[in-house]
Symmetry: C2
Subunit: 545 residues, 2 copies
Amino acid sequence: MHSTMMDVPLSINHLLERAGRLFAGNEIVSRLPDKSLRRHSFGDFHRRARALASALKKMGMKKGDRVATLCWNHHAHLECYFGIPAAGGVMHTLNLRLSPDEIGWIAGDAQDRFLVVDDVLLPLYRQVAPLHKFEQVIVVPFSGAPVAPDFIDYERLLADADPDGFEYEPHAEDDPVAMCYTSGTTGRPKGVVYSHRSTVLHTLVASLGDFWGLRGTDVVLPVTPMFHANSWGIPYGAVMLGVKLVFPGPHLHPEDLLDLMQLEPPTLALGVPTIWMSLIQAFDASQDEGSPNQGRWTLPRGMRSLVGGAAVPEALIRAFDRHGIWILQGWGMTETSPVCTVSYPRAELRQATQDERYRRAAMAGVPVPLVDLRVRGDDGGDQPWDGSSVGEIQVRGPFITGSYHQVPVDPDKFTDDGWLRTGDVAAVDALGFVRITDRTKDLIKSGGEWISSVDLENAIMGHPAVAEAAVIAIPDLKWSERPLACVVLKPGQAATPEDFSAHLLKHGFAKWQLPDRYEFIDAVPRTSTGKFWKMKLRERFAGHR
Amino acid sequence: MHSTMMDVPLSINHLLERAGRLFAGNEIVSRLPDKSLRRHSFGDFHRRARALASALKKMGMKKGDRVATLCWNHHAHLECYFGIPAAGGVMHTLNLRLSPDEIGWIAGDAQDRFLVVDDVLLPLYRQVAPLHKFEQVIVVPFSGAPVAPDFIDYERLLADADPDGFEYEPHAEDDPVAMCYTSGTTGRPKGVVYSHRSTVLHTLVASLGDFWGLRGTDVVLPVTPMFHANSWGIPYGAVMLGVKLVFPGPHLHPEDLLDLMQLEPPTLALGVPTIWMSLIQAFDASQDEGSPNQGRWTLPRGMRSLVGGAAVPEALIRAFDRHGIWILQGWGMTETSPVCTVSYPRAELRQATQDERYRRAAMAGVPVPLVDLRVRGDDGGDQPWDGSSVGEIQVRGPFITGSYHQVPVDPDKFTDDGWLRTGDVAAVDALGFVRITDRTKDLIKSGGEWISSVDLENAIMGHPAVAEAAVIAIPDLKWSERPLACVVLKPGQAATPEDFSAHLLKHGFAKWQLPDRYEFIDAVPRTSTGKFWKMKLRERFAGHR
């Protein structure tokens, strides 16, 4: 017997047409380099994305060609998200925080034919240009300055194009729409290629009530860069449901974000822990008597906030909750589109204490629909979901990558039965909450026992004097490895190793788990995606190269 | 270039496993024939659905075999929703409100091999049995009475099965999971067959925040029968997100539903306008001084309510809103899984008056994601979305049927380019709100102009003396057709045709649009799915056969 359902492929083109038809009057707001706001409607967006598609086809872009973007978060970048695939192209978001060498290598590996670049990023482009030859460079006049004649002016290109005569490039639902490179803390970055199918499915799942809880009446502030796993996919969700977007452009300093929240109060904001931590510190400081910013800001009460990209310390969740803002933590990676797990308030926690809720909120959360998740122990078997048995997280699903662009499948990355090996170590409890204890490479093996560097870091960051902390393994003759804590103190604060030992013992750590050394540093080095870059600390303190 | 995403088929088996793993402690409550409540957990549900699947395989059920259900809304019916497809079978929900002849014909057309039937429905089964031979009949001991030895006892079957040893039947995502017959107001009922793919996609779309807004903390009361387009798909959504379900069993009288709401207050309830109308009338009557039910009920404030299956009169929306319950109207049909459009509070209506919000809420609403919708005029061209140009609604998408089970594709039902012809006539406005003006067969053509019977009905139902009203066309020598209104007055109320004419003129109808005749009747005849059965009224008043 056969299903009688229509065979209609999933397509992000449908989302674009939907936005143009249903939400033409809704707003997309972008902050420009001069901090003024530019307003477009979804009607403009629809017309402009189609105009871009039409222009790309006329420029000779063929189906499957890569069109790179080197842009901040703004309306034109959103137009690329939809306009490039509409013409059959693959949007490749380049990470502007990487070195020119890395960007050039990545553009070469992806064989990018065209580039869309912000005028304010042309100095970076000029450093990349000798390393990879883009056939055509389209410049977004983001700052408002005229575009030099050796480039194509994005605005002129759109003005000359014919969005009405445009016809979508036919496609199968497995055809690619976008690609993004992994951050590559080890080895070369690797390309992940998303399809119409994976993008639509990820958008539907992540938008559900328990996760993003996206609704047409929301106002979303994506601080997460559009070149990090597609801003976690929120641009697709916003277009699907006609949700007002407020793009911060290049202004990501806490004071700038707080100013923007006064102008366009969001109901949902997305960001990484580092920025959220500095944001709440700036806000709290402004509450002090005599602060130059006293009375400058209010926080949008009731706003939801999605934080991910690195472990969210419980202290951060508590700090925001004091202002009526609940942080939903998500976990995922470029390889997973990225939303894999979300820590949301479960029905089972209705009777839980507030402390228990915070404890859960500081976990990676529960696997979302369509994602299968398992934890594999050292013996290769599935670990029980008992909250304590740890192993590597492996995932599988229709929006998870099964390979990398032009790289032979590596057993270090994929299992024989086709699951992605995430390299994160975790325990899962009976409610399905994933608690990440470490990266496989960051575990500390002391006297045959494992010590979680992440647990130690989170506990140390709970100390009132600490701004941030990273724990690494140092070689030890007797124990093979022992923990060393690198601590950044808050301005004007002081604390001794003895203070931290007392603090950790009070929080349930055993004596043998306590760090042997503390190093007080100015800042934890970070990768381009904001993750702790422990390799740098190991080079500095552990004699590693 | 190729996408690197995994090729993992969509599957409702994933939803079942997810529920068992993540939500084992959450509750599923069923009201039994004696009005007591039975409680199962999602853990029980997971185990029992797998046990059912295991038992069906052992009984010789082969992949693609149809297993019919003749059941009220309860836990065992939910187990069939997942257990039958888990074993590779196709669950065929039989409509217990049809005549035995119709049920027998439908079971034969579907070639149902097995039947799962409630013990309280065995009298109906016995009338069906001579018309279609089921190989095996499994009886759910819903009332608690022992099952006669000539039948298989559902509970014993599950107790003897081995859920742990069970392995899912492998499937492609287009493989069927369920089938349902159209209500067939004209012609024979026709079978629609849903697939894993269409079911998962419909579940994801309908669950989104603007539509069902389903969350894990919800408590859902599905009054809509599980044999009407799968209770609109809510069982799948509830299992996906671990949402507590409260099943009313056979007790659908307004007083029973109000009693159940006291025992298990829902946050979301689904039903048809008729039941909702009698529910609010029963509640309002209980507020009267001296009512025997005074003080018996409170309404769950803040509850959302999804109403569909027939046009929702504005008066009903206002009546519930007075109690803090907002009605979301949905429109769809068995052929569309069924959610096609939903009327939800749009961002664009933030500044609208309350009257305007009610007006919009009384429309069919906005097409949901993945559904393409167009309105075709008499000339075959697309009508503009101007709020007034009417035509037939045609839809297309991955959860819309493209044919019927074993019926050659009929140009009356599908267009040459593959869209479903819904037979509903509507205008769409600039915000995408669909306003259904009639069934193609229910339009009244008077002097070359169309009169909408639905508009007249809704306006007459807004009159305070009216419980319900249906308008039909009667042949007219001069005008070809003229409207006749069949009116059901509320108990103790009186009104004259002159009163209605004045009321309609006040509500913007032209003189030529007013009904020529009024017939006062006891009740509007309804189809088995609760829709106005105008054919019966035409037979009675218009001399039609």
